[in-house]
Subunit: 96 residues, 2 copies
């Protein structure tokens, strides 16, 4: 699991807001776009990074592309942070 992609993806406020929107259910790209003042092309760029980090999944439904949250990867991210807290033992060697 590339922690680098994961944390990079989480570093941008727009992307975190996208994840927050998806928390309540899947949404087509267009619906997501309505929540942001940037172009759809820019949003698409953010979608790419979120997909690269596997934080979201996509499914084509007709002419729409529906995005949904990959909760397990979010759990992984939280877990990586928790690992930083105590157990030197529970170390899963990880190339940043």
């Amino acid at each position: 699991m590339p922690a680098q992609h994961l944390f990079k993806a989480l570093a941008d406020p727009t992307r975190r807001e996208i994840l927050r929107l998806l928390r309540d259910g899947s949404l087509p790209a267009g619906d997501i776009a309505e929540h942001f003042p940037i172009t759809r092309a820019s949003l698409s760029h953010h979608f790419n990074l979120l997909k690269q980090a596997e934080l979201v999944r996509t499914e084509r439904r007709g002419q729409h592309i529906v995005y949904s949250l990959n909760t397990s990867v979010l759990e992984d991210a939280a877990g990586l942070l928790m690992e930083l807290l105590r157990p030197k033992s529970t170390e899963t060697t990880d190339e940043s």
Copy 2:
């Protein structure tokens, strides 16, 4: 709590490695520097971002400056990720 500073700070592999080093106890800047192939000036830049995010604390001890982990902020970060998972209710409105 500026989530932005927090996630930005976590986005860099060098900074995450610094946190990992501090997990096992406080360390002076010089000791930390020995683990990295970059200059102390560059490390200092990373320290600044970690401090800005309040992920680390500093204490001067003689000519050394000792860094230590602020575990509660790491817990906060993990918590912010967990919030993205389910409860729309437990929402603490947050300017990214």
